[in-house]
Amino acid sequence: MKEELVKIEELIRSFDDIDKSDIKGLMQRFFTKLSNRLENYVGDYPTFIEPVYLEDNVKIGDDVLLGPNVYIGANSLIQDYVEISNTIIFDNVKIGQNFKLENCIVAKDSSFNFKNLNIKSSVLIGAANSKDELQSIKF
């Protein structure tokens, strides 16, 4: 599982030149190996559809639905009314309120400081204070 994660992180590092076919295959392989880890989050009983793997100190808001196939890196913040499936979120990420992410990858240290986003099959990266500022690439 960690092996694919490292490869995916490596792939999205070259943001403007991502090999899209590689991403799909790697994500699929990663999700078939994904196990459950729900012990160390901070928050009040979100909805989980397994498999969901949470690294340490993930903060989760109210009315959140995670899964199936969700990996969230350490110290990330998932705010209220968020829904995430088939998605990899790396460490130290901030997801805004009422975001809906399906089949996405969110790069390390990304921070989205706005509400209401519905996005599929995309790599998201960087800091954004509005939808217009969002850096994303479809795959």
Partner: protein, 238 residues
Amino acid sequence: MSDKEDKTIIRIKEIESINLARDDIRDEVIETKKAVERDNDLLANKVHQSFIDNNIKSFDIVGAIGAGKTALLEKITEKLSSQYRILVICGDITTRVDADRIEKHNAETIQINTGRECALNAYHIHKIIKNKDLKNYDVVFIENVGNLICPSDFILGTDKRLIVVSTTEGEWVVEKHPMLFKMSDIAVINKFDLKERLGTDVDKMISDAKKINPKIEVITTSAKTGENIEKLMNLMGL
């Protein structure tokens, strides 16, 4: 979305009953509730069609905590897993206790932890089957969150719904929860082995179920002794 709209939506989400809605948003709450029910039904139909297209027999099992839903599923999967490829979706507020119990009988399991929600809905099931190759399964069991109230709000798109009650819940449990009996195809009265010791009036439970839903099949079982499990499987067409 404006801040005002945003606040209204959050307020609607927080209101569990229309009676609690302020006059100025009452219409909106009613329309939202109707839309949610409509969307659930549409999605449930889609789920059911996917099961039919893949020749899968599907069952939604509802009942109170401790009625014996998991114990019955353990017995059934134990008997069926050599001839059928089985997927069991388990709904619980939290933990993986039920899925772990059933998995021991060679069935694949997926746990849904609903957190604060008191029933599974068609969206949960749709999310799961979207990610599964349904050609790999012959039977899908969905064990709903343990209670006799909320699951009546949401159909899941299965062929049949089973409601499980037990002699330990007392003979009034059926007449106190008519809605789920109306919406179920088979009523299972479990822990029949304890009937004498508890003095529960099982005949009343059976006649109440029939009164509420004349079409419902009623069967008494004991997951502990195995009594009538084969008969239940026949009723389910397994």
